[in-house]
Subunit: 166 residues, 2 copies
DNA sequence: CGCAGATTTCAGTAAAATCTGAAAGCTTAT
DNA sequence: ATAAGCTTTCAGATTTTACTGAAATCTGCG
């Protein structure tokens, strides 16, 4: 397989993977493109490579920066902005865990808290509250586990953790 | 908060959560509805409760069954099918991990394998192959970790694991 | 200041995902 | 065998999400 074929296939599958994780195709593709690029790319280069509009490129690059997956880089003597992706896979995964935890897990736990105030007066409300409590319990455990995980380093994960868990 | 208010809010937020995880709103809502229902529900009851069409209900119920999150239940003397959700949260999570691993992680690793055959002839192809290898390495670790996780039981997760990891 | 080069915004459009409803397909009781 | 009662399917409609392109805004240099 040639580099160009491989690159196309990678952009394609990273984009598809993103879709099934609630991340839009283009955002994932920009991320993929920056991941495999040895140097920082400008917005124009990204637009070109992925054949997308300026607006689309801009919005998705901003989103990636918000997620902490991409950094802005200014080249001396250039007025344009260039972008680089975080290349360390463990950092990438930590980033994603941290952001999703903040955006989804935490708000969800907050809602479960409110919901657990439903009075348990019959079978239906008992079943309801039980589910809410279980979700809350499980969610809290996951929350603190993920906290610990994102504070530990890559070697710990790929080394020690693997042995401990087996 | 009354049961009905709480229920509405729960259906609503579980649906929203699903969306950001690549699961469609309705599928997540049917799951939510079955989770909090003390008895099995028929397709008609689900259609009614969520105000959706027969076709929509049927397709999403099937999808939930495929995921292993919902079971078909036949009541004696009834021709209709009834549906119950798996209520044990740890089982639910194991189900989701197992399915997503099978549907996404494994195919992705397969693609990375193909992609790592790109020859490393210059800076660009070296960077490309390095990223592919990193993803593969990380993905394989995740794969076996998740395997171990889904084979362990709930108590182990909420108990031991939490202590070990701290 | 004024303008050239660059980024951001956003209304309108396009594409993708999801849903509907009716028809076709099963299953079981008689 | 057939009809009633359910379930499944799927073409077309609807809704949601994403993208475009051009105008507005920003930035900093002469």
């Amino acid at each position: 397989m040639t580099l160009d074929e491989g690159k196309q296939k990678f952009l394609q599958s990273w984009g598809a993977l993103g879709s099934s994780w609630g991340i839009n195709r283009t955002m994932a593709q920009i991320h993929a493109l920056l991941l495999i690029s040895p140097e920082a790319l400008s917005a124009d280069e990204i637009m070109d490579e992925l054949m997308i509009s300026r607006g689309n490129a801009n919005m998705n690059i901003r989103a990636l920066i918000d997620w902490g997956l991409v950094y802005k880089e200014l080249k001396a003597g250039e007025r344009k902005e260039f972008f680089v992706a975080e290349k360390d896979m463990w950092e990438v995964v930590k980033c994603i865990i941290t952001e999703r935890k903040k955006r989804e897990l935490e708000p969800m736990l907050k809602i479960m808290d409110e919901l657990s105030s439903v009075p348990e007066t019959d079978e239906r409300s008992e079943a309801f509250v039980k589910v809410i409590r279980d979700i809350k319990l499980f969610g809290s455990k996951a929350d603190s586990t993920l906290d610990t995980l994102t504070k530990s380093d890559s070697n710990w994960f790929v080394g020690t953790f693997m042995k401990m868990i087996r």
